[in-house]
Symmetry: C2
């Protein structure tokens, strides 16, 4: 018996990562692999009065009060954003999926940072995107390289994570943000700005959304509550320039009608309360300590093995390895030692731009586990380096 | 400035229905248009202890305890279904979207009942499906016509709603179910069985899932909690034959990582409690009364205007109009009289099979509104019929 599936399914990548992440949930494994917030820091979900009005079907665009709060927040960041341009999504991942649905046919060219967010690559690939990578530098992508790539590839959109980028931790300079916006405006190229880490900041730095600097290019801004509250709620959002918005709402409706209402109601109350500010200050304090703990451990154990810089915010260290180590093979060895990381090669949109690297999450493990895990990992990688074939 | 969107967006139908449904929310409008459950009958959402364990990211497949309950329920209906074959979805609409993602490329042939669920048509159309309709009769679709259509069109799958079909209310006879299953098995054609109304039953009737009669054809069974608990939670599910399941999980993960955990936790507790049975008995009692109220009102006001039969379950009456009335135009007139219905023509997969019809929901309006609304509607349609051009 044969039955045929869509061509889309041929582009679904293997379940390797799913398998890895499942192994990391084994008790005793120190995992730097996922992008998990620390559960012990998450706010209590006290639904109380939220539940009663959340039972019936709701609007596809999201709950009006939550959209209002989001629009106010984005306006405060400099975006020209009315409440009518805000769409609540079932997590930020759904925002990425809607971007794929909106823009991508088989062979549609897309420009992205190299490296970039693994799950965005997977999602866009399923829709048939043809990737072109923009190498990331310390200050962001190079605006001239962006312009050259736009002229050459005529992408349907450019996907960027300018603040505490995943996986690199890079935070674009204000100059780079303005220069990138100018190129997008000049060429009329749509920008998809993914910004889930903006509020996880430990060392103050410029992070005006690139969308806020756009004058005429279409834009979609993706935001998340997962990293700052509780990802289990699955509530994120997007805002877009007005012309794109009606398409996104209809695609959203076709995807799941609307996002769960209880989580939206709880978030509306929590974000407007004084608890939210206290929660953020506490969480960022703890995460800053964990970042510093990992930085100190890396200094002790990874000198000579890798190059990195401490991220000013977000959830990740990005280690560029000195030796040409096969990081997927190294991960298998590491798992035998009960420590996990994300192999860097998965984050590159095109093979030619790859270099050996690791992504290490510092938000989830406690400081003593960070110390032990980094020591373990350096041993594993030291051994892999000794047997590496260049 | 031009920017190009995917070809998918060209197939997004107009927002007419969205606009209509928004008008029906105007105070004072008696709406038979949507498929809304009655809010006053929904169970209290008492999250209590559910919230604490629902904060972190969860599994893409869904919460193990809920999957277990679902698998047990489906096994009880005769499906060969292990817990490993159950995927929790963000409402049943997401199940439909995943089916589209899994099977449909541009031009992929799909067989469906004629008429069938509007939102499934819209969703499959966006992915590029080419529709072929199987006319519905009182006992279901004709198995011989199904076989002829399969041989002729070689569809990627057949989409059916055998129990209390939307919009027609039809419940396939057991003979039709077995005969349809035999044709699907013989031809190895995948079945997508959408079954959100199965537990809304007012007059007992056979409703073994067609999937339960399949011996070798691949299958996906779509289930919903929206109609029996609270749609605002956005929790539905699917189960599938083993070979299709890994694809569906990966597409789900790419769509929104996983479904919100709080709703899943609440449902797990509620479905396992004795409250659930009491709730269903009460709700079905009220809905049966409303069905009977609408039937009596139709008998008084629609004789000579339309033909129909009282549905044994589900949420809808389907009225086949005697005169060739333009139901979209009639809806505009009806809205001026503060009464709303769904125009039948939207539910047909192909234009040639269309006939003038209305879909009337009976679960949402109270009995006195049903009586008043049906009387109003008959006047509107009587006037439209008088001016109808045949």
């Amino acid at each position: 018996m044969t039955h045929r599936l869509s061509r889309r399914t041929e582009r679904l990548t293997s379940s390797l990562i799913r398998d890895i992440l499942q192994i990391t949930q084994r008790p005793g494994v120190i995992s730097f692999a996922g992008g998990l917030p620390a559960e012990e820091l998450m706010p209590e979900l006290d639904f109380g009065a939220c539940a009663a009005d959340s039972r019936q079907y709701g609007p596809s665009e999201g709950e009006p009060a939550l959209r209002e709060l989001i629009a106010r927040g984005l306006s405060g960041l400099g975006l020209r954003c009315q409440v009518e341009q805000v769409l609540v999504t079932t997590g930020s991942q759904q925002g990425i999926d809607l971007v794929g649905k909106l823009f991508i046919d088989e062979g549609t060219p897309v420009l992205l940072e190299s490296p970039t967010y693994l799950a965005a690559l997977q999602c866009f690939r399923v829709y048939g995107a043809e990737f072109h990578g923009l190498p990331l530098q310390a200050e962001g992508i190079d605006p001239d390289a962006l312009k050259t790539a736009i002229v050459r590839h005529r992408p349907a959109f450019v996907y960027l994570i300018p603040s505490f980028q995943n996986p690199s931790g890079c935070c674009y300079t204000d100059g780079a943000r303005r220069a990138v916006a100018a190129v997008l405006d000049e060429t009329g190229t749509p920008l998809v700005e993914d910004d889930p880490y903006r509020d996880l900041v430990y060392t103050s730095c410029d992070r005006t959304p690139v969308c806020a600097y756009l004058e005429r290019a279409p834009w979609i801004y993706l935001g998340s509550f997962s990293k700052i509250t509780a990802p289990g709620l699955r509530v994120g959002y997007l805002a877009s320039s007005p012309a794109l918005f009606p398409w996104l709402v209809r695609l959203k409706q076709s995807s799941d009608l609307h996002t769960g209402r209880t989580g939206q109601a709880w978030l509306t109350r929590f974000l407007a309360s004084s608890d939210f500010g206290k929660h953020m200050a506490h969480m960022n304090g703890v995460y800053a300590d964990r970042r510093d703990t990992m930085q100190a451990a890396l200094d002790r154990h990874f000198n000579g093995l890798a190059e990195w810089s401490a991220p000013a915010g977000g959830l990740f260290f990005w280690l560029r390895l000195v030796e040409n180590i096969d990081t997927l093979a190294a991960l298998k060895v590491a798992l035998n030692h009960d420590v996990a990381f994300m192999p860097g090669e998965l984050f590159f949109p095109v093979a030619e731009q790859r270099y050996p690297a690791l992504r290490l999450n510092f938000s989830h493990a406690t400081p003593d586990k960070i110390e032990r895990g980094i020591a373990l990992l350096s041993k594993v990688l030291g051994e892999c380096a000794a047997t590496a074939i260049d």
